[in-house]
Symmetry: C2
Subunit: 641 residues, 2 copies
């Protein structure tokens, strides 16, 4: 039985601190903690046994720093340390006096060197070191992988990919926040959850970071967005020096109280980090047992009455219902809630002579400028397409993503006809991007869906297939349904699909506009998916294209378009979107509208360029989701300009 079978059956109890326990048992300052696996196996085995005896369902191996970088010069190999560490934990599991099945988590922590672009460690170097550790742990017989104390989601992603690609074990992933509620690289809880949860892991959560009380708010954010069971391992408060000894300022009563609050909010996996000891775990286990006994085996699963929602009979369904459509950069998440989200289309060389030249000459300042201008004008997601026959698209895409990410915070949409370029880009990208695109062709779905699955991305589904462009509304619906159903067979939820009902040119096929709008309406109501649309095609070949485009945009928004792919620097379009949001009641109390237009003369028709605090301030009806989705989303002042 794997540990994941315990979900819904019991609160899974982790161990507490390893580092502070080792200090207690004699680890000296400056000494490599992992060396104790070899030099003092009885200490490590003993600590594990203490936790198992206290009631931990699993312990984490003493392998926090067991990677090639940290072990360099230690005289030990990764394989050697990991093998021994797993062995000790397994021995402790056999030796415990406590009841129930016991598990060993291979503990994997950050390499200890910052990744590019902040540091100099490449994604693939990190991946390689994680792989080494994971392969060793798997070989040694670890039951699952626990990534913990990660401060950079990108590094965690390298680790998770290394796990998913090199072993079959379950994966738990836990990250660490600073006091300001952000991870070291700036990710907020929503962004962390959104990026991690679709990477194929089994549980996610927060460890270390803060004391239990301060952890409550973070964990509630996690619980709000996580489709997966949530893990929490707080520190026992802050370290204080008492009589030369470092102790932590939260005792186990206070710790237990906060832990129970988080369990009552829905946490499924609970333990401790720095400063916590077997006594903390024992107290926690005892209180959980006491409460569970009070309720009894049947009532504990009653969704209405259980003190532990993670044990409710419908816990999994409830988590699944939290599925939101959201895209993230490393530091900012845009939720496709009921607000309109503009996907900026200008970084695409098709028909753009200047951008073509910039790409050919490697003029990234031009591309950065396009990114900045689009975000200033209201884009909340940027499409990146650098496909030109004359250039190395893969290399260009890599650079473009890095350059654009360095000047704007908005999430990106990776746009290429070449699936190798797409995979390179989404692997490297420090967020949860949209892939543009998949369509109904069998071959294309077989190429794209594995990438969407592995990297946990969103994807645009174009309603065309082997038979070509759709002829009417029904063909659009049929193709959309086929794509959504096929995605499901890969384990890709419909919340990660944005259906593009394809606008063709009305001058060529007059029913095209009407068919598309009807398809948008029906795709939304039948399949419950979000929609996107590159709407400017509609006017091709006709005069006054902006007039047609802005009118079609209003019609499409009214029909239910969520995320138009458009040029936000054209005021007619962003004006239309802002007006639509006010008129449709999405822009509550017209706040954004008034902020944007309030100081302008009525009827002037033109507007000064400048800050765009509107259009994206997530005061949607899902108030909380919106709030969070745009907290970072709208701080244009935070742009690195």
């Amino acid at each position: 039985m794997t540990i994941t079978n315990l979900f819904g059956k019991k609160i899974i109890i982790c161990d507490g601190a390893m580092g502070t326990m080792m200090q207690k048992y004699g680890l000296k300052a400056g000494e490599l903690p992992e060396s104790l696996n070899i030099t003092h196996p009885e200490i490590i085995r003993g600590i594990h046994k203490e936790y198992f005896d206290a009631g931990s369902d699993f312990v984490s191996t003493n392998t926090f720093g067991a990677n090639a970088y940290k072990l360099k010069g230690s005289g030990y190999t990764v394989d050697q340390i990991v093998n021994q560490a797993v062995k000790l934990a397994k021995e402790a599991a056999l030796d415990t006096v406590s009841q129930g099945e016991k598990y060993v988590a291979l503990d994997v922590a950050p390499i200890g060197r910052l990744l590019e672009p902040v540091g100099d460690l490449t994604f693939e170097e990190a991946y390689g070191m994680f792989r080494e550790q994971i392969v060793a742990g798997t070989k040694a017989g670890a039951d699952f992988i626990l990534f913990e104390t990660f401060t950079d989601i990108s590094e965690l992603k390298a680790g998770i990919l290394a796990a998913k690609e090199n072993c079959e074990l379950p994966v738990f992933a836990s990250v660490t926040f600073q006091e300001d509620g952000r991870m070291l690289m700036g990710s907020d809880p929503l962004t962390a959850v959104n990026i991690i949860q679709d990477l194929g892991i089994d549980a996610l959560g927060v460890n270390c970071s803060l004391g239990p009380k301060q952890m409550v708010k973070l964990i509630k954010e996690f619980l709000k967005y996580s489709k997966l069971p949530v893990l929490v391992q707080p520190n026992a408060g802050l370290p204080v020096s008492v009589n030369g000894e470092t102790i932590y300022d939260v005792d186990f009563a206070e710790y237990t109280e906060a832990m129970l609050e988080m369990l009552q909010a829905g946490v499924a996996v609970a333990g401790g980090c720095c400063g916590t000891t077997p006594a903390y775990i024992e107290e926690l286990v005892s209180r959980i047992k006491q409460i569970s006994d009070q309720y009894g085996a049947d009532k504990i699963r009653d969704p209405e009455k259980t003190p532990f929602p993670a044990l409710a009979s419908d816990a999994e369904e409830r988590r699944a219902e939290k599925a939101i459509t959201a895209v993230s950069s490393a530091t900012k998440t845009v939720i496709l809630d009921d607000r309109i989200r503009i996907i900026g289309e200008r970084i695409n060389p098709t028909g753009k002579k200047l951008l073509k030249e910039a790409l050919k000459s490697g003029d990234f300042a031009y591309i950065e400028n396009e990114a900045i201008n689009q975000v200033r004008a209201g884009a909340e997601i940027l499409d990146i397409n650098v496909g030109l026959p004359e250039i190395d698209e893969q290399e260009m895409m890599r650079k473009a993503i890095r350059k654009v990410s360095s000047v704007v915070q908005v999430p990106l949409q990776i746009d290429s006809a070449d699936e190798a370029v797409i995979e390179t880009a989404v692997r490297l990208y420090q967020g949860k991007p949209i892939i543009n695109s998949v369509n109904g062709k069998k071959e294309v779905m077989e190429a794209i869906f594995p990438i969407v699955k592995k990297y946990g991305t969103c994807v645009i589904a174009l309603t065309l297939d082997e038979k070509g462009l759709p002829k009417n509304t029904q063909e659009r619906l049929d193709i959309a349904e086929r794509i959504i159903k096929t995605a499901a067979t890969y384990g890709i939820g419909k919340e990660r699909i944005l259906v593009d009902c394809l606008t063709l040119t009305v001058s060529a096929q007059q029913s095209a506009g009407k068919d598309t709008l009807e398809a948008i309406r029906q795709v939304k109501s039948r399949f419950g998916v979000k929609t996107t649309l590159g709407a400017s095609n509609v006017s091709f070949g006709l005069p006054e294209r902006k007039l047609l485009n802005r009118t079609f945009l209003a019609m499409a928004l009214e029909a239910g378009l969520d995320a138009p792919i458009t040029d936000p620097t054209i005021e007619e379009y962003t004006d239309t979107i802002r007006a639509f949001e006010t008129l449709s009641g999405k822009d509550i109390e017209s706040k954004d509208y008034i902020v944007f237009y309030g100081n302008k003369s009525t009827g002037s028709g033109t507007q000064s360029s400048g800050m765009v605090p509107s259009g994206s301030n997530g005061n949607g009806t899902k108030a909380d989701a919106g709030e969070n989705g745009t907290k970072a989303g709208f701080s244009l002042s935070a742009l690195t300009l």
Copy 2:
């Protein structure tokens, strides 16, 4: 049994010419034809008997000119002539050798003097003379009233009102066209049908005018739009002089052939006019009998097989299905088909200082100019509101209608809070106007619906009632349903109702826009009615109102708005409507769009003023209806500028 009971049971056979028969029997040139009723009763009785013997179900009394104007100085009173004429026809009916029930129609023809504004006869003078004739005919025992050979719909309307208000008899109304397919005052067949058919009559049709062959096309137009049984009485071709005798150039074989074609197209009442004789009627009756006998009594009612659709078992339902929403001036009809029809709102003093001053000083040039400018800019219907506390609204409305009608051809919408003003206006108006408005208040419905019914108008139904403004979509739907159902109790079909779902101000109540759009969508799908909307309220209190209004307009059109009430001189709005029509496929092949914008530079955003052949060229999907509805509608060149 009244004659209307024959509909669906048999083709009703009229008589043929009276005038040419009287000449044959000795009426001299210059002699008053109606005097023969007194001086030679045997001749008149004899002609009637000849027609009855030939198989006519009814004959028309010899009262074509029996009105006070024409009888002036003749020595006879209207009462005297009419009484004698009816008596003679009734005697002939009793004397006939032919089978079946025989009826006497009181023949009523134009007064012989043109009505205002072309002539000097007032509407009420005409009404008074018709009343005198009708009261006399009713008293004398006529079975129904036949208005025939009318060339001015306004005069016919005076006659029909006189009949409906002074007797209980059935009314048939027949008009006369010139060779150009228009009546003397310019009405085309659609306009004639549209204005007449809701005045409470029982049958309508065409007489005199042309020979039978040329009549076919006209009659098919009538059959296309008429909800009532259609009557046809063509001339026997053109008069030619042979050996000093006037004869007609179409013999009864040719006549019968054309009559059968029209009967096969659905005509229900058939006879002849100038030049036709009892022999024509006999031949027609014989051929109808021959064909009917071939089919047999059961098959003749089979909708799929009958040679005479007027006899099909579902004839009445089929006619009812033709109900279209259409408004007319005297010369032009606008069908609310799937094209968007702009109702120009500028002639309304609310908030318009210059118009207020013009009304106070009686400056009709200003009002005429507003009308011309709106039509030039694309309005197809004009709202007329002249309500100001300081002026005689009734008198001002009368003048405004006349002045506006003298410079533009478009149908008018009569807008007043005073039902006396409304009744005065629609009584006088030479067309089928829209009344603006009724609402869900019991008192208002009881005041307005009798006017709508009597004058056969369309009406705007505002979704508000005793409880005030609607709070949400459901309240709008409930009120709309109540108004539609109440209208039905008056015999007012839903095709004459334009529901206005009322846009409130989003700055005051944010759900207002959304609720209105949802109501439009549902009102259309549930009740199958057309919709109108004065959309500029929506932006009240917010900056950049034109932006909000144009965006809301596009959203409302997408939701199903048919006839926006707006200011067509604001290009943002008409631009949006033209774009919408192209994008939604209503403007087939974008023809109107290209005509309007084709010669303008792309993206200029501005446009020269000028002719507006677009937006209203009825190339809707109901191609024929559209074609006809706008034939006059768009000939701005025909404007009397």
